[in-house]
Symmetry: C2
Subunit: 271 residues, 2 copies
């Protein structure tokens, strides 16, 4: 562990890490920022490539993170910094005293989907322009908890490496294969491999979510918070599925809808 | 409609409305702020007592709100104001050009629960210290959509009149009976009236949510985001219920869990 202590927010490393708060900086550096001891620990334990950890010198390095570093040795810079530096790199009201820069991982879709082809009841989640960072992060958290095999993010989705998304995943993003791909093309490819596509939609000919056929290899599609699922994805659908609304609400929150839909698929398939 | 136009953020009415952004001000005035044309329209159409509407003079008053005002005549002050005034009263990044002050409504629990006693399959939701405003609002939105009869908020809950809660409900709070009450006492009262209490808990003796008995009059209990349900509420439980976690996640988001739980209760009871 280095004994250097960074106290200036003008330090070049701090400036470079600060760029990761913006999408442009994340794309240029191929890295993103993770804040808080629990998320840093999860990143290390999941085998993510953690290039740099900055921790508040007054709070010292979290013991769980120390253990995770020892168990997953890699070329991580671990540097103490002042509270002011940590505050500069924080997006939360109460800076948590630790941030890490983590390399983006590019999962190979072709390879992954080939491996998955052996799994008779593979379950994918397709997200069609989810815009709200909290929703995207919560959906990834739910997907991982529900045992979804992988998630495909279409164009127009909020950046998965956005800090709010990362925090809302509660670490699930380190463990869940997530792919950024053109959705309709991927859905059609999935269908050619024997998969079916179930699309969440309030259209008239959609069946209640508890009456749908969830057998075999399936992909569930969740649409944009305001507009729902795109025409292209509706055209791909083997089945349209809706969650009934018994009150006067016009819709459910996208993350809640995704949770009900995914858990019903798993419940149905367990029986 | 008044022809006065408020342009100063120092205007006494603006100052008074600004106090409603804080819990203290809301308690003193017995009112809360609602932002955005859709929510103001919902408030009017649901019969809420809207004391004041301020709208951006450059955008004019939303037509749907005008109709709602005409259909629900009451002593509402409707006043044009400058964009700066609207911005001062806004909690969102893009002020929506309209805010309204709405009187808090005190639903009478005893009266309401007496009426409900005739309903054989009444469904209540008890929220035990939900802290995150987005979660509380989303839960209320989901509860209304799922046909929940009423919601009981225990002590330690985030203020339901907090702006983030109000926005996340998407108007559901105007249509859903919500009571602030001591949870364990209310649960015991509910049990004396023949209701059962199902508590969300990851404790070992809890049954999977899809194996629970949802018959008759029931109350579902959702706990705090970090700590779960309190000991008092665990002691009240007729049944402990959990949503299985198939991945490595330690928990689901509280609003997602509430959605899955409530919709499973309704699905089960429809069969």
């Amino acid at each position: 562990m280095a004994h250097e202590i960074i106290t200036s927010v003008q330090n070049p490393l701090v400036k470079r890490l600060h760029q990761l708060l913006d999408k442009k900086g994340r794309e240029e550096q191929g890295r993103y920022l993770v804040e808080g001891a629990h998320l840093v620990e999860e990143a290390l334990n999941s085998g993510a490539e953690v290039t740099t950890i900055l921790y508040d010198q007054e709070r010292s390095l979290d013991p769980a993170c120390q253990r995770a570093l020892a168990n997953h040795p890699q070329a991580t810079q671990v540097i103490a910094a002042s509270a002011a530096v940590l505050a500069k790199l924080s997006e939360t009201k109460s800076p948590q005293g630790i941030v890490a820069a983590v390399k983006k991982t590019a999962s190979q879709w072709d390879e992954w989907v080939d491996k998955l082809s052996a799994k008779e009841n593979a379950l994918l989640l397709f997200l069609d322009e989810i815009q709200d960072p909290g929703n995207l992060g919560t959906i990834l958290r739910t997907a991982e908890a529900a045992g979804v095999d992988g998630v495909v993010l279409g164009k127009g989705s909020v950046d998965i490496y956005n800090g709010k998304v990362v925090r809302a995943t509660m670490g699930a993003m380190f463990r869940l294969p997530v792919f950024s791909r053109e959705l309709a093309a991927t859905a059609n490819e999935w269908k050619q491999q024997g998969g079916r596509v179930l699309v969440s939609s309030l259209a008239q000919d959609s069946v209640s979510y508890d009456q749908a056929n969830y057998c075999g290899k399936i992909a569930l599609v969740i649409g944009n918070e305001g507009r729902g699922v795109s025409k292209e994805m509706l055209a791909c659908a083997d089945q349209l599925v809706h969650i009934p609304l018994y009150g006067k609400a016009e819709s459910l929150n996208a993350a809640v809808a995704a949770g009900i839909f995914v858990y019903e698929a798993q419940r149905n398939r367990r029986q």
